[in-house]
């Protein structure tokens, strides 16, 4: 297809570089430098989408990121499909494939358009008033239908294979927007020596200058000045230029998030490049130079394809060499309509008429239009348009003293509208700056700042090219100056706005400040007209009026009730007109209606950008012990415990978990097993006051624990509940080797540091995490001593010299070790602590030494079974943050004589010793083969009516191969007093009888501990 709507020459496209692309399966051509929008328009395509609610045909409204209609799905392949992209921002590349959305079966014939016929019955908020009967029908019937109709594009159904990266950057001055104000600001800041970042959402830096054909700056054509300025900035070391980079979020303390599109515009992106990059910029000062957005006019049938913003049409002509049509009618409330008319005429578009809402039409641009022979009609409105899939004519009518006269139909293939410009205050508002209504400008403008930022140019209501350039320069200079005295993110006193230190003479058409907010008069029956305010969400002027009639007085209510401003452009095109309509309906001035808060992101931002590299194995650290690889090589199955991987069990060929665990358990009880306990937290508590500190942090008494001995310690939160436990070794008078649970290690250390630093800074004691210093190899079983004895030097392993719960230092195969005689299995046991660099080597040596005893590596599951057989608790399994030491039979570990320790006072509350507290007990099922479900509840009478009173729940439950039956631990109300009684564990289909027993199932006297 040819580009029938290309201008003969001009624009910034590369006419020597044609590109071929597909839209809805049809092949088109465009040029390098085109957007998908400009290329489609060049091919005469305006119908590109369907609206959200009524499925009305829609064309391009704008040429930028405010586009509400032209949303397409761009797919490089099945997995690289992105819905809802604005065609106005999609850069053309060879082979690009785009699809229209929200239509079936095709864009030109969309069955959903039946909604348009039903529109009278679907006013704003209709769904709140109906679909209520019969009860339940909403979920079953109405909602699925509504859901199917709603939504825009289709979410991809394959995982996104592309990468996203994230970078932190710091600068003195961040300039957002590279139009004339932003360029001048960057130039000024850079010349002051500041480190500057200049970003802009568009592919090319330049903003409105990219669409200028006649303006001059400092004596040069705007395009030449732009090129020279960019060359100057590029050459400076202290400036970073970032095109294709949207500043989408303004977060506290001048933390600005930028989204850079790295490969989206490339036909064949390199595999090592990220698709997008998040820049988290921390700027000492920010200059917001976001420009202004042209406002549509709200008139009947203003949504037909071919109806678009006048200045966007000018951009298509001047920047992209593309004509929006052959014959245009212009509807304007300001001089922008004339500027567009003149430029389009120059590009070869015939201008049928200019309807000007204003009565007084004077000034340079209107004069030039008249001189060019254009039919200019003051006090004239558009009262409608016609055409099925493209506008074919417009109805113009004269307004006399508020009365709309008869309409004249003028044939056209495009209607260009301009209601004036709305300063783009989104980022300023996100920064929590207060917006102030400026009656003269008819706009909300930045008022008091909160963050260290300033606005420059059109986004703060400055207009006229020279004034904008000079304002940008002045703000850039001021920002650089303020950055020099930066001390903290808090904003200091606002300096008086400086005059620019140099003038930047420029000539360009002055558009003035005229404009219109609200709905233009049309004299037609409003019940039968649709004058759109929010194109995408199909919100019309009458919807807004209905909302006010129904009592919605706050703009937030109106917005939520009608959904105006909630489309994917987030109100960029609709907010001000909605305010105007509500203001008129309530007969209340605009500033009294309020303004909805602008929220991040400025434009929709890819989820992957936020997620960045955090996926799969690096979603969270995968922590592995020094012995992990050995376990993996020996077939271990692993489980996640926090972010550690722990060997769960070591299945042999043909074994399932049950079989493997049974074998491992028996091996430990009968001979010897070995277990990697390295993940246990370890803290070295050192200093003259170490024992005193331990006394205060743990329930136990530590003063009398002799060096060389171990003690099981219990730690409480200040509210009296068990927080952690672990074996503690006293290495010397002033040195404790503290162990914690695997998951509790960081929490316990932080808890200790908290008390030490803030409550007892006078104590001479220091804490150092040694979790990763030590690999811990537990060797457990009757043969444990025999296994390790040949390997150990410097420690007398005899029972007498090294009794249970002792610690000694020596070496194992020459490696320094802290050897614990300790058991979490009830068998004779040792825990060999060695520096983790030697963890695997020592493990292998122990394994080799144990082979003659059939030493069996075991995992966490066997560890759990063995300790449950002994009734040892696991914090976090038997306890859930609501258990006192006494509840879990650890009352013995509470130093009654101690005056105080963390948590002691809370234990004195009556509730903490109430007799019906849940207490740790054992359960034996009457049928020994039944293994209870962990988490199952315990009741006295399963047949009781709902709610069935519950007495407790099963915390741990296993099949014990050694005992040949199931065992369980449970927390049961008044449990200790129920020992010997029968209770029931109700399951969905039946109840299981259990006997409450002492929670020690194996070797209750502890005779095996000493081997």
């Amino acid at each position: 297809m040819t580009n029938r709507f290309r201008t003969a020459s001009g624009g910034r496209i590369d006419r020597a570089a044609p590109l071929s692309f597909r839209f809805d399966g049809q092949t088109f051509s465009g040029f390098k430098g085109d957007t998908l929008a400009s290329a489609l328009i060049a091919n005469g395509v305006h119908l590109v989408g369907r609206s959200f609610k009524y499925h009305r045909p829609r064309g391009f409204l704008s040429a930028g990121s405010d586009e509400p209609n032209a949303l397409v799905n761009v797919a490089r392949d099945a997995a690289r499909a992105a819905p809802n992209l604005r065609a106005t921002q999609v850069e053309l590349y060879e082979g690009l494939k785009a699809q229209s959305q929200n239509r079936w079966p095709s864009l030109s014939f969309d069955a959903g358009a039946v909604n348009d016929l039903a529109a009278p019955f679907l006013p704003a908020g209709f769904y709140y008033k109906t679909f209520m009967w019969p009860a339940g029908a909403w979920k079953r019937f109405y909602e699925p239908k509504i859901r199917a109709m709603a939504g825009l594009g289709v979410a991809p159904d394959l995982p996104d294979p592309d990468r996203y990266t994230q970078n932190h950057a710091h600068c003195d001055v961040l300039v957002v927007g590279a139009g004339p104000a932003g360029l001048a600001a960057a130039l000024a800041a850079a010349e002051s020596g500041a480190k500057v970042i200049l970003c802009d959402e568009q592919a090319e830096l330049g903003g409105s200058l990219l669409s200028e054909t006649t303006a001059t700056i400092e004596g040069k054509p705007a395009a030449d000045w732009l090129a020279a300025t960019l060359a100057t900035l590029t050459a400076r070391d202290n400036v970073t230029l970032m095109p294709r980079t949207t500043a989408f979020g303004y977060f506290p303390h001048n933390h600005i998030a930028l989204a850079e599109r790295v490969t989206e515009h490339l036909a064949a992106p390199g595999p090592d490049l990220p698709r997008e990059r998040l820049w988290e910029v921390r700027a000492k000062e920010v200059v917001i130079a976001a420009g202004a957005l042209e406002r549509p006019l709200v008139f009947p049938d203003n949504d037909r394809p071919g109806v678009l913003l006048a200045d966007s049409a000018r951009t298509y002509a001047n920047r992209y060499g593309t004509k929006v049509g052959e014959r245009a009618v212009i509807f304007t409330a300001c001089d922008a309509g004339y500027r567009a008319a003149l430029d389009l005429k120059a590009a070869g578009v015939s201008i049928a008429a200019i309807a000007d809402l204003r009565a007084e039409v004077s000034g340079e641009l209107p004069s030039r239009a008249l001189a060019a022979g254009i039919d200019v009609r003051p006090s004239t409105v558009l009262v409608g348009t016609k055409g099925r899939l493209r506008v074919a004519s417009a109805q113009l009518a004269k307004v006399t003293k508020g009365a709309v006269g008869p309409a004249e139909t003028i044939a056209c293939d495009s209607v260009l509208m301009s209601g004036g410009f709305t300063p783009s205050v989104h980022l300023f508002s996100q920064s929590r700056g207060k917006l102030v209504w400026d009656g003269a400008a008819g706009a909300y403008l930045p008022g008091t700042s909160v963050e260290r930022e300033r606005s420059a140019g059109a986004c703060r209501g400055v207009n006229g090219l020279q004034r904008v350039l000079e304002d940008g320069y002045a703000q850039g200079e001021a920002a650089a100056l303020a950055a020099r005295t930066y001390t903290s993110p808090a904003r200091g006193a606002t300096p008086a706005p400086a005059a620019p230190s140099r003038s930047i003479p420029a000539s360009a058409e002055d558009l003035g400040t005229d404009g219109f907010i609200g709905a233009t008069p049309h004299g037609r029956n409003p019940a039968f007209t649709k004058a759109f305010v929010d194109w995408q969400n199909d919100v019309t002027a009458k919807d807004l009026k209905l909302a006010t009639r129904e009592g919605m007085r706050s703009i937030e209510h109106v917005k939520r009730y009608t959904t105006t401003g909630m489309a994917t452009d987030q109100g960029k095109t609709s907010n001000m007109n909605a305010l105007g309509i509500v203001s008129e309906a309530l007969d209340t001035p605009v500033p009294k209606i309020g303004l909805t808060t602008f929220r991040p992101p400025f434009t929709p931002t890819t989820f992957g950008l936020f997620a960045g590299a955090a996926r799969g194995d690096v979603f969270d650290p995968v922590r592995k012990t020094a012995i992990h690889d050995w376990a993996a090589e020996h077939g271990a199955a692993f489980e996640d415990v926090g972010n550690w991987k722990r060997a769960h069990y070591f299945p042999r060929a043909g074994e399932d978990m049950h079989a493997a665990v049974a074998r491992e358990c028996k091996a430990v009880r009968a001979s010897v097993g070995m277990f990697d306990a390295s993940t246990l937290g370890k803290i070295e508590v050192v200093g003259p006051d170490a024992a005193e500190f331990m006394n205060r942090m743990y329930t136990n008494a530590w003063a009398k624990l002799e060096p060389g001995r171990l003690r099981y310690g219990v730690m409480l939160r200040e509210d009296g509940f068990v927080m952690d436990d672990g074996v503690v070794g006293r290495m010397a008078a002033d040195r404790f080797h503290v162990t914690t649970t695997t998951g509790g290690a960081p929490r316990v250390l932080a808890h200790m540091e908290d008390y030490l630093q803030t409550e007892w800074p006078d104590l001479d004691v220091w804490l150092t995490s040694t979790t990763e210093q030590w690999s811990v190899i537990a060797v457990q079983g009757p043969k444990a001593r025999e296994v390790i004895a040949p390997l150990i030097e410097g420690i007398d392993l005899s029972k007498e010299a090294f009794p249970h719960m002792s610690v000694r230092e020596g070496t194992i195969l020459g490696v320094p070790t802290r050897l614990f005689s300790v058991s979490f299995t009830g068998e004779l046991g040792f825990e060999i602590n060695v520096p983790s660099a030697y963890g695997r080597a020592v493990w292998e040596a122990v394994y080799a030494a144990g082979e003659r005893f059939g030493i069996t590596p075991y995992g966490t599951e066997t560890m759990h079974v063995l300790r449950a057989e002994k009734g040892y608790i696991i914090v976090g399994q038997e306890t859930d943050g609501t258990a006192t030491p006494d509840d879990v039979n650890l009352g013995w570990a509470v130093g009654k004589a101690k005056k105080d320790f963390v948590g002691k006072r809370s234990l004195l509350r009556e509730s903490m010793s109430a007799p019906d507290r849940r207490q740790l007990v054992g359960l034996k099922t009457t049928d020994p083969k039944i293994v209870l479900e962990e988490g199952a509840q315990i009741v006295a009478d399963p047949a009781a009516p709902v709610p069935v009173p519950m007495l407790g729940f099963v915390t741990s439950s296993y099949h014990s191969a050694v005992l040949g039956r199931s065992i369980a631990l449970a927390m049961v109300k008044g449990g200790r007093a129920r020992i010997g009684t029968k209770l029931m564990v109700p399951m969905p289909t039946h109840a299981i009888e259990v006997e409450v027993v002492e929670p020690v199932f194996y070797d209750p006297k502890g005779e095996r501990l000493n081997g």
Binding site: S488, P489, R491, D719, K899, K904, R905
Partner: protein, 99 residues
């Protein structure tokens, strides 16, 4: 992400810190002397002001120190930070440039 000025390390990003709740709630010297209500007040009740808040932070991924800060909970700007154990500076929100 806030910028927090650690009294030792200077201005650092929030991710290096851990929030520690309201400051200047000293643990009673003799908890057993307190009534249940007094103890609950220490344990649970918090000022939770809308405005200037004295609070604890720990530079956990930095120097490890706990310190105190005055922050305006409406704007989230810090007025000052100071070392643990030091008295709360006699500042009100308006003087700290938090507006």
């Amino acid at each position: 992400m806030l910028i927090i000025t650690c009294p030792w390390c200077g201005a650092r990003p929030e991710v290096e810190f851990r929030y520690g709740g309201e400051a200047h709630i000293a643990r009673p010297a003799d908890p057993s002397a307190l009534t249940d209500a007094e103890w609950a007040d220490f344990l649970y009740n918090r000022t939770n002001p809308k405005g200037l808040h004295a609070e604890r932070w720990r530079h956990i991924h930095g120097c490890g120190r706990y310190f105190n800060a005055l922050r305006d909970t409406v704007s989230d700007f810090f007025v000052t930070t100071y070392k643990a154990g030091e008295k709360r500076p006699d500042i009100d929100a308006s003087s700290g440039g938090s507006k």
